[in-house]
Amino acid sequence: MSWLVEHAGEIAARTLEHLWLCGTAFAIALAIALPLGLFAARRGRVGLPLIAALDAIYTIPSLALFALLIPLMGLGFWTAVTALVAYAQIILVRNVVAAVQSVPPWMIDAAQGLGMTPLQVFLRVELPIGAPVAIAGARVAAISIIAIASVAAWIDAGGLGTMIFAGIERQDIRLIAAGTLGIAALALIADGALRAAEHALRAPISPA
């Protein structure tokens, strides 16, 4: 217990670092995946090779991907962000495509037939119908990012991984436990928040 009190400052700092790293990566990943996914969904033929390429990135072990980036970008925060963004892409793009495809053609037809402009069809029909599917994907992506980000400590990007690596080095189980539990807590919180968002969007469709 006294160990915890003593290390509270470090745990909090590492947690914030972790959160900042993952939050940045998640926001950038989303900003890239949304347009990419929409594009892939609308042009099936261009979309397939794109998804295959993203699949290939996903098969690279995370440690190897971080290592591969070092000669290109050096050590540090942005290298870690880049790796995390690359990992999240396949999950997010896949789900944006699935989200677009979850809107049945008759619904688009009805929307257009009533006189909606393409933007209105997107905002009023495709977005609300597809969003729950997309958010389900975002949940998986967020959890993956939070987990994989522990490796970031290895390239000096900070985060809770730093405590785990330090714990391994000093053979201190308490450090390892604190780091691991912190990551698990972050993952659970992120999952809960996105699940709530998904539920809020889905709610009106199912009978009250």
Partner: protein, 321 residues
């Protein structure tokens, strides 16, 4: 207010060997209930969708009120034309009221006016606004969903309505009542309706103008009575089952016969012993009344006055071909 004219309209889907709509020329006057009838895949939906430009055409032209639709903004055009799609087509994430309000909202009506309009429309399609306003489509029966779909199409008081098998998903009883309500609604609003079905009975009971389609072209156009009594081709005769005498009886009204019948007053023939029927009643119903009462004549009333007395022979001659 809203006439439609197709002139040599042609649609070829990309990669298709044959045109889905192949040179259709047709004029539908304002206020007409026109029904497109034909077997599955003959191009009814495709032709219907050319009117609001959901389906681009590869040849010919389409005029609404004499104006070529190619020169109109499709978004503006669609907001002026009610559209009921083949599936019920309600948006599952919107309430009944929000579904009905889609077009008024697109047109930027203020919320007070939209809300009043929604209530009035739900009443028009026999739904209790209080009970249904805030429900989601998944909480409605098939027939109720169809009604909301119709209300949505009517929302901005369109002078033209496109309906693609709107009653496909409901049982016979609900179907019949929806048909009657649609007819009443059309008479009340004077809207021009283009209605697609492959149900012959539905087509016969609704149409002012019946358009029989086959393989992308029009096989015959006429009133239901004309088509049943004078089918232009064996295909039409078979499709509408023109050989069925009872069916022919069902599309001819007593009024149509009374006009040419020799006038005899019923009082001259044992008053009160024969069925008295309105001129709008079908010959089929008249035959039914005779069979039920054992009478061999019926008295036809027109605007509350005796117009004619018709006997079994007159009926027989009317359907003999």
């Amino acid at each position: 207010m809203a006439s439609i004219r197709f002139e040599g309209v042609r649609v070829v889907y990309p990669g298709a060997a044959r045109a889905a709509v192949d040179g259709v020329t047709l004029a539908i006057p304002s206020g007409c209930f026109a029904v497109l009838l034909g077997p599955s895949g003959c191009g009814k939906t495709t032709l219907l969708r050319t009117v609001n430009r959901l389906q681009p055409i590869d040849g010919g032209r389409i005029e609404i009120d004499g104006r070529d639709t190619a020169g109109l903004d499709p978004i503006v055009l669609r907001r002026r034309i009610g559209y009921v799609i083949q599936a019920v087509g309600l948006f599952p994430h919107l309430t009944v009221a929000q579904n009905v309000a889609v077009v008024p909202n697109l047109l930027g009506w203020d919320s007070q006016r939209v809300s009043e309009r929604v209530d009035a429309l739900l009443a028009q399609v026999s739904l209790d606004a209080q009970a249904f306003r805030d429900r989601y489509p998944s909480q409605l029966s098939g027939g109720q969903q169809q009604r909301v779909g119709i209300a949505r199409a009517l929302a901005a008081e369109p002078s033209m309505l496109l309906m693609d098998e709107p009653f496909g998903a409901v049982d016979a009883i609900v179907r019949a009542s929806l048909q009657q309500e649609t007819l009443a609604l059309q008479r009340r609003t004077g809207a021009t309706i283009l209605f697609v079905t492959h149900d012959v009975d539905e087509a016969l009971s609704l149409a002012d103008m019946l358009v029989v389609m086959r393989d992308g072209h029009i096989e015959q156009t006429g009133t239901p009575a004309e088509i049943l009594t004078h089918p232009a081709t064996p295909f039409v005769a078979e499709l509408v089952d023109a050989d069925d005498a009872l069916r022919r009886l069902s599309v001819i009204t007593l009024g149509a016969l009374a006009a040419n019948a020799a006038y005899t007053t019923s009082s001259a023939l044992e008053p009160g012993t024969i069925p008295t029927l309105d001129a709008g009643v079908s010959l089929r119903a008249a035959l039914g009344a005779m069979l039920e009462t054992g009478a061999s004549r019926v008295c036809v009333m027109h605007e509350g006055r005796e117009a004619a007395v018709l006997d079994l022979d007159t009926l027989r001659n009317a359907v003999r071909r």
